[in-house]
């Protein structure tokens, strides 16, 4: 298999990069000029592309690789990959579902608690010595609150299950109502936002869900509402979010992803009702290793003519 050419177009775990290097003829094309050079010399030999949340093959790249057979993504989200083009060209696509569900759900609850109970601010308060001057202020209880989940897929359902342990009420919005679900369905995101205390974005990023969290939704969530984004930065109209937080029209936010990642909106740095994380969801060693193994196993299965483990296309 060492002669099979594979192109890497997104940042991945070093372990994965090393294994790809060992098993295949690996070309690195994350950087645009790197990629251009690789395409110039090797476009016609590349049979597989490895993508991630930071980069994936668009229509142009897929067209430029005539021998492309499979795209294996080191992520569950495949918004960076032109799936339609892959379908047209008969290119297989795999992702890494399930292995990161629990971890992302754990982190989501952690983010909610961090915002409502001001955990990061409390930690700053103690480290700065301010506790000697007086107690920290009253914060907001999480138990018993109403959680609104945007996208009741694997991750959304896992978040709901954990929130039930805190006696939260759960409601959701999905493209279609789920008849087997015990949770309350709202047919629009604005209605969901109006009726919950904490709104969690847990749906895939598609053209339809781009900026699904807009000014109207943010205003509906309101001055006591909290937005948690563990989906993709582009789910949220970020400038609108920033102005709502600065003006107090939104009660708080916990963000693991950003519209122009890895750029983080500086205006939010001083806000005590905002918790920012450097895209750590799915970042645990166990999960990233499991994701890497899934990428490798899918590629191996493909080239051995066996069924793919986690195909999307």
């Amino acid at each position: 298999m060492g002669s099979i050419s594979v192109l890497l177009v997104g940042k991945v775990l070093p372990y994965l990069e090393q294994e790809l290097d060992k098993r295949y003829n690996l070309f690195r094309g994350i950087d645009p000029s790197q990629r251009a050079a690789v395409l110039r010399d090797h476009a016609s030999s590349i049979r597989a592309v490895v993508a991630s949340s930071s980069g994936g093959p668009d229509a142009a790249l897929i067209e430029a690789l005539p021998k492309l057979e499979i795209v294996s993504s080191f992520s569950v989200g495949v918004d960076r990959i032109d799936l339609q083009k892959c379908k047209e060209k008969g290119v297989r696509v795999t992702n890494t579902p399930d292995v990161l569900t629990d971890e992302v759900a754990d982190l989501t609850i952690g983010l909610i608690l961090a915002v409502l109970r001001r955990i990061c601010e409390c930690d700053r308060y103690v480290r700065s010595g301010n506790w000697k001057k007086g107690d920290y202020k009253l914060t907001t209880k999480f138990s018993g609150k109403t959680l609104g989940i945007l996208g009741l897929g694997r991750i959304g359902a896992a978040v709901a299950k954990r929130a039930e342990g805190f006696d939260c009420s759960i409601c959701y919005y999905s493209r279609n109502e789920k008849p087997d679900s015990k949770y309350k369905y709202y047919p629009s995101v604005v209605e969901l936002a109006s009726n919950c205390d904490v709104l969690v974005v847990a749906c895939p990023l598609t053209p339809e869900t781009h900026h699904i969290i807009n000014r109207e939704v943010i205003n509906a969530l309101g001055p006591k509402g909290v937005l948690i984004n563990i989906g993709r930065g582009k789910h949220v109209d970020e400038p609108e979010l920033v102005s709502a937080l600065l003006e107090g029209r939104l009660g708080g936010a916990g963000l693991d992803v950003f519209e122009k990642e890895p750029h983080v909106p500086e205006e939010l740095f001083g806000l005590e009702n905002v918790v920012l994380l450097p895209h750590v969801g799915s970042a645990t060693v166990e999960t990233r290793t499991a994701m890497a193994d899934l990428v490798l196993d899918n590629l191996e299965a493909h080239f051995l003519g066996k069924p793919l483990l986690t195909p999307l296309v």
Binding site: D106, C120, D123, W131, D135, G165, P262, H263, V264, V285
Partner: protein
């Protein structure tokens, strides 16, 4: 002056007092003894109040309701505190006099349990450290932040499976944690594995959560031996009392990596916190804020107000 309103003598004051006063100023004539350095009888004189017209006290651990205080108020019939413990009230004297003592029940247990889970997830996923990291610069380098560890499958040893411990267990079960516990007595109504020995519990746990009261028996219940038994991947969360843990040993273990991390809401000598902890990223520190939520304070105020209502109307 509303002389028809019943007088309420306030000692302490309780942390909830500002909230209580703002909600119930129409129901009581507050005698804020906490703001005066005068002995009680003289203070009451400045309030044009005879000691015999004081039937109710609202207090907190900050200012004890001693036998002297009780004896100086011949009509005292109810003493309410916004804490679970009543160590700061001479309950023997109250019993002698037939004075009702009102304490909080389990109103705040969910809030404290929430804090325990919040601290645990923060340590596991480095949330506070991540927030510090993300807010340092307008660009973060992807994959440059150390990764954490998920909760599923972790063995959580709860020390004290009472009101708070039970709520912690319920929450962590939803994360697929395996729950075990140590308590004074085994609880026959739970299916969690019971350990009569804390070192054994620690040896078989990935996480220890302290939820028990501080007594002579539980002082330093988590000592060096327990921490070493917990091991280098172990995490400690304390929402009980600071002196449940040998703090000096804890600091050493954290600095040397003998345990992986800790989430601490309480300390031996609050509000003093060992400075060595301030430079560590594997600890999350909280200023005894487990029950300091608006909901919790409102519940406490309502509970006390209901007790006073029942007393004054009988």
């Amino acid at each position: 002056m509303d002389s028809e309103l019943p007088a309420l003598l306030v000692l302490g004051p309780p942390m909830v007092f500002n909230l209580f006063q703002s909600h119930y100023s129409h129901k009581y004539r507050f005698l804020n003894a906490f703001s005066s350095h005068l002995p009680l009888p003289q203070f009451l004189q400045t309030q044009q109040t005879h000691p015999s017209s004081v039937r109710a006290i609202l207090c907190s651990p900050r200012q004890p309701v001693t036998a002297d205080v009780i004896r100086s108020l011949p009509s005292l019939g109810i003493v309410a505190t916004t804490t679970v413990g009543a160590d700061h009230i001479d309950t023997a004297e109250c019993r002698r006099r037939g004075i009702q003592v009102v304490t909080l029940g389990s109103q705040f247990a969910p809030d404290v349990a929430d804090m325990a889970v919040a601290l645990l997830i923060d340590v596991m996923f480095k949330i506070s450290a991540g927030d510090r990291f993300a807010k340092k610069s307008i660009h973060f380098k992807p994959w440059s932040f150390p990764s954490g560890s998920k909760l599923g499958g972790k063995r959580v040893g709860i020390i004290g499976l009472g009101r708070i411990g039970g709520q912690v267990a319920k929450r962590l079960e939803a994360f697929d944690c395996i729950i075990m516990y140590h308590s004074r007595n085994k609880n026959p109504s739970v299916s969690y594995t019971f350990y009569s020995n804390v070192v054994d519990l620690a040896s078989n746990s990935d996480v220890l959560v302290l939820c028990c009261p501080l007594t002579e028996q539980t002082k330093y219940i988590v000592n060096k031996e327990v921490m070493l038994a917990l091991g280098k991947d172990g995490i400690i969360v304390n929402v009980g009392r600071g002196a449940l843990i040998d703090e000096k040993e804890l600091v050493q273990c954290l600095m040397k990596g003998e345990i992986r991390g800790a989430g601490l809401d309480v300390f031996e000598n609050e509000p003093n916190v060992p400075k060595e902890l301030f430079s560590l990223d594997n600890v999350v520190l909280s200023p005894h804020a487990g029950a300091i939520t608006l909901d919790c304070f409102m519940d406490a105020c309502e509970h006390v107000a209901k007790s006073f209502d029942a007393f004054f109307s009988s």
